[in-house]
């Protein structure tokens, strides 16, 4: 299942609609990096509210996405990690070190607004 990517001004918003396979995640990584370049986006929000499980592959891919996008000079925020998913991630020993996270889409946008304000 492909992840739709919405363009909202200088921000791209990718919203998971369901559980994703590894192939879907790889496709998302390519799609996001390409669109950040195409639209000269300043930030990306990945909304994982609908994600059932964050295993080692998914968290590694999200970390890679954030790092690639940072190399383009843009910012990534992961939003919507469910409490149970967060608990399982910690038990499994997975971290999203160096990647910004926020409670939900609204908080993610607020975080970016604040960040851009201080930068200007």
């Amino acid at each position: 299942m492909e992840v739709p990517i919405l363009k909202q001004g200088a921000v791209l918003i990718a919203t998971f609609q369901a559980a994703l396979s590894d192939a879907d995640l790889n496709q998302l990584r390519m799609g996001l990096v390409q669109q950040v370049v195409k639209f000269r986006s300043r930030a990306v929000i990945v909304d994982v509210t609908a994600m059932d499980v964050m295993d080692s592959f998914a968290s590694r891919t999200l970390r890679e996405i954030a790092h690639m996008i940072r190399l383009r000079g843009a910012e990534t925020v992961i939003v919507g990690i469910q409490p149970e998913v967060a608990f399982a991630m910690v038990q499994l020993g997975l971290t999203l070190e160096g990647v910004a996270t926020a409670l939900d889409l609204e908080e993610g946008l607020a975080y970016l607004n604040e960040k851009f304000k201080t930068a200007n």
């Binding site: 559980a19 994703l20 396979s21 590894d22 192939a23 059932d52 499980v53 964050m54 295993d55 080692s56 592959f57 968290s59 590694r60 469910q82 409490p83 149970e84 998913v85 608990f87 399982a88 991630m89 038990q91 499994l92 020993g93 997975l94 971290t95």
Partner: protein
């Protein structure tokens, strides 16, 4: 609400998703909390991932188990792949976890209540885990 036994063939990354979804469904049917069902689904995802990554194909068997005054779920991941030459090393944290080549086995052990592994180089690996309902 019959839980029975479910076998999921693991041949591709799509099957990882299907195995963990079936596991979550069975866990929910058995009365596990949604938090525990997520832990079980995550463990299944990692075990199925190891099969795809190291053995290409295998299977995951999900089963209801009865203990003394308690009920639980058993997950058995089997493959006929290359096996794990050094199980002790594979069970050590840091060798696995979030790294790129990890087996995630110490993490799976923490997610579940019981953990058993049998592996023979050249013959395959079986990881059997259980979680009991709180």
């Amino acid at each position: 609400m019959s839980a029975g036994e479910i076998q999921v063939a693991i041949n591709s990354d799509q099957d990882i998703v299907s195995a963990r979804q079936k596991g979550r469904q069975m866990a929910t049917e058995l009365g596990f909390s949604s938090g525990d069902a997520t832990l079980i689904a995550t463990a299944i995802s990692e075990l199925a991932r190891n099969i795809v990554a190291y053995a290409q194909k295998g299977q995951v068997t999900l089963k209801m188990v009865n203990g003394l005054n308690r009920r639980g779920i058993s997950v058995v991941a089997t493959d006929a792949g290359p096996g794990i030459p050094d199980i002790r090393q594979a069970l050590r944290d840091g060798f696995s976890t979030s790294g790129s080549l990890g087996l995630g086995l110490p993490g799976v052990r923490r997610l579940m209540d019981e953990f058993e592994i049998i592996s023979q180089p050249g013959r395959g690996t079986t990881v059997a885990v259980k979680k009991w309902r709180q």
